[in-house]
Amino acid sequence: MTQATGPVEQTQADQSTVLESLRTRLADLKDEPGSLLEALYIAQEMLGYVAPESIEIISEELGYPEAHVFGVVTFYTLFYTEPQPKHIVRVCRDLSCHIAGATKIAARARQEIGAHPGHASADGLLKLELVSCLGQCEKQPALMVNLDVHGPVTEEEVTDLIRSLREEDQ
């Protein structure tokens, strides 16, 4: 299966090649009724987000009106219609994690990333999201970097984690 979000390094020049290969990869889904979410996962894996051009191609290949595809993309929080930073740090803000100190964890993540939740860091590498329960409550407070789960985490560990994510890209 494809990853929801992950490292995608793309230049403008090869975007059109990517879009053509998206067309090819969608071929498998044509006989699979209702597989729009899977198509969106593929599109997002290839470009890091669901680009307007990807919506156009999905609409053509799978036979949905573009407005329908757009409506679906925007319904689901794991799909993005804008380019995303390489690492999305998702901190759970629901009750169990909150009781276990998630607010401090989120504050530390925000400080290290240097941007408000929902906004990319200045270097464009990281973003913090405050999210609904991740179903990892035995690891309270828990967070995910893209789909990798960490927990229970301390504030110091958040600092180390974010610094090491940055170092990876040096």
Partner: protein
């Protein structure tokens, strides 16, 4: 006391997620027996006799559900495993999908045969990366081994199962929203009736069950309906329940116990109680949707009868709170969750959830007034007419907390937080 391991037994068997290891534990023998030696009617009767009820939160009798689907002449019929598990404080399906994916798949095969369905879906929330990988592998192994496909376990029965991922929407756990999602649509719920048993995915008769419900099925075939019935506490409860424990507790985790243990047993005997020096204030018995119970209610049984205390059993995700947890803040967390997850389709829920959030925010910032407490109840009254279960339950934990811990809410109106932990206290 040890846990009562049945559904979770393989969680302690190394690599049980691998097909050969699973088979070594008797895996797929139950399905083989069901498909070659039992009639669909016998299987349905067996499920009814076992007393198995849906573990997804509504506790609908599983045998009866299957019977309704089988009785509908419309075809094709579908089977769906609901692995959306997004209720706060709930994580037990994840363990079963990651560590023992074949058990619930075996249950699905038996269910499909019982209702004469030849196609099914497994819907897993998109955040469960590892569960998705394991289930994908399990399905591939099943196809390679003749457990799925045109000749299931040599019985001549045909069954195909597909894995589908959600993409970050709690509402897609609601069965009709899940159908829409599977059909490539926004996950808005549909009007009921017609019910899924007659009009499910693709408007066809559909069995939809929780992962844990399906996981019980092979064990019932193996050990008999009576065995299962007797696992539960008292006459009303059948089987085990996998409870999830989190919050202020020494040992957060999953615990498989007789359905209907008391909260006291779960929290103190199995969860190790609260950390040294912390005292219990209250607990939520079944995720965010369940209204809080107080420390005086520790001896309630964690089963559907808990509804008599104005709360719900829900998913069995028990969240423990001590004296340092502010009840306004706790209610706020629930409200925030439902505001975020409201699908926006109907007005009482779309408008009501942010209204509750705003009121609780006011209270936590010392800007609340007494009329706010009344207002929350009025908003609750209007939300009761919401289109689906999300909105119909969303206000209850908020209103419930305000009733049970009224003094604490009033203190916030007067400008102080007795627990000393919300925004007022930190200012």
């Amino acid at each position: 006391m040890p846990e009562l391991l049945a559904v979770n037994k393989n969680l302690f068997v190394e690599d049980a997620w691998q097909l050969d290891v699973f088979k070594g534990t008797g895996g797929y023998e139950r399905a083989r027996r069901a498909l070659t030696e039992m009639s669909p009617e016998d299987l349905i009767a067996m499920m009814e006799a076992s007393g198995l009820k849906g573990r997804g939160g509504a506790f609908f009798p599983t045998g009866m559900k299957w019977k309704f689907v089988r009785a509908d002449p419309n075809t094709p019929r579908y089977v769906i495993a609901n692995g959306d598990e997004s209720e706060p404080g709930t994580f037990c399906n994840r363990f079963n999908m990651e560590l023992d994916p074949h058990l619930f798949i075996e249950g699905m095969i038996i269910a499909a045969y019982a209702v004469d369905s030849h196609f099914g879906y497994i819907y897993i929330r998109g955040e469960y990366g590892r569960a998705i990988e394991r289930v994908e592998q399990a399905l591939a192994d099943c196809y390679a081994d003749g457990i799925l496909g045109d000749d299931v376990l040599g019985s001549g029965y045909k069954l195909d199962l597909r894995l589908r991922r959600g993409a970050g929407a709690y509402i897609c756990g609601e069965e009709t929203a899940l159908f829409n999602s599977l059909e490539g649509k926004r996950g808005n719920p549909r009007f009921k009736p017609p019910f899924p048993t007659n009009s499910g995915v693709w408007r066809k008769p559909t069995v939809i069950n929780n992962i844990e419900t399906f996981a019980c099925v092979p064990l019932i075939v193996e050990n008999g309906a009576e065995w299962f019935q007797e696992l539960g506490e008292g006459d009303e409860n059948a089987g085990t329940k996998i409870y999830c424990l989190s919050g202020v507790i020494n040992n957060p985790g999953v615990y498989e116990l007789p359905m209907g243990v008391t909260a006291r047993e779960l929290i103190y005997e199995y969860g190790g109680g609260l950390p040294e020096g912390r005292t219990l204030k209250g607990f939520k018995p079944g995720g965010a949707s369940a209204a809080i119970l107080t420390s005086e209610q520790l001896d309630v049984r964690l089963d559907p009868s808990i509804a008599q205390y104005d709360t719900i059993m829900g998913t069995g995700g028990v969240i423990v709170m001590d004296e340092t947890v502010c009840m306004v803040d706790a209610a706020y967390r629930d409200a925030l969750f439902f505001e975020e997850e409201s699908c926006g389709f109907c007005i009482p829920c779309r408008e009501g959830t942010p209204n509750l959030v705003q009121i609780l925010e006011r209270l936590m910032h010392g800007q609340g007034v007494m009329a706010d407490l009344q207002l929350m109840e009025e908003i609750g009254d209007s939300m009761a007419s919401s289109f689906c279960g999300l909105g119909q339950f969303a206000y209850r934990p908020v209103v419930g907390a305000a009733q049970k811990y009224r003094d604490e809410f009033v203190a916030h109106v007067e400008g102080s937080c007795p627990a000393g932990s919300c925004a007022i206290a930190n200012n």
